[in-house]
Symmetry: C2
Subunit: 117 residues, 2 copies
C-alpha cells in the first residue's frame, strides 16, 4: 500500500523477475522439487521412500530439493524419537495446496498421454 | 492393454522416468515455458509482446520455449497475410488446459506472497 491508495499498491506478479512469487513459482515447478511435492501430496514419506518413488532422483538432488522446500515453507521434517530415529517429510498447508495444483496438472498430462496411446 | 486385461495395462505416471507424461510435465513446468504458457493463457501474443511480458527472457530462450511448446502440441503459430506478415502464438486446447492449471498455481503463490507483505 502507498499513500496514493490501492490502485498504486504493489501486488505479487509471477511475470516480474524480482517478485518473490516468481522465485516461489520457479522453485515449486523445478525438476525435482515438483515431483517431491507430488509425492508428498499423497502423504508423509521418509527419505528412502521418496528416493524410490521419484524415479531417477539422486540422494544429493533429493536432499537439495527437501532443504529448499523446507526453507520455502512447503514442508516440515518431523523426527520421531524411536530407535533408530525416524524422520518423516510432511507438507505444510501451503505445500499441500501447491501439491494439489501440481497434481491437477500431472493428471491432465497423464490423461493426454493415455489418450494418445 | 495386454491380454491379461486392464489390471496389467500400462498407465501414464509422471513419477516414472521414461514415461512421456514425465517429459511433458518437466517441459511445461520448465523455467521459461511455464511463464510463456501463463502469458498465452491470457490470449494470443506476438513475439515482442511475450518478450516484454515475461520479464527477463532473452530472444534465444523465448524462441526455444516457443519451439518446444509447439512441438509438444501446446501452441500454434498463426501467420496473418498482412504486410509485414504478423505471427501470433496461440494455445491449443491442451495448452489452454495446462495454462489454466499453471495459473491456479501462480494465483496461489502470488496470494501467499501478498499475505506475507
Amino acid at each position: 500500500m502507498t499513500p496514493e491508495g490501492p490502485s498504486q499498491a504493489l501486488v505479487a506478479n509471477v511475470f516480474a523477475r524480482d517478485c518473490e512469487s516468481r522465485a516461489a513459482f520457479e522453485h515449486v515447478t523445478s525438476k525435482w522439487s515438483s515431483l517431491v511435492l507430488l509425492a508428498l501430496g499423497e502423504g508423509p514419506h521418509r527419505f528412502g521412500q521418496l528416493r524410490r518413488k521419484v524415479d531417477g532422483v539422486s540422494e544429493k538432488m533429493l536432499s537439495q530439493a527437501l532443504r529448499g522446500l523446507e526453507a520455502e515453507g512447503m514442508l516440515i521434517r518431523s523426527a520421531r524419537s524411536t530407535a533408530p530415529p525416524r524422520v518423516d517429510y510432511e507438507l505444510t498447508e501451503l505445500g499441500s495446496d501447491v501439491a494439489a495444483r501440481l497434481r491437477q496438472l500431472a493428471d491432465l498430462l497423464e490423461a493426454a498421454v493415455d489418450a494418445r496411446s
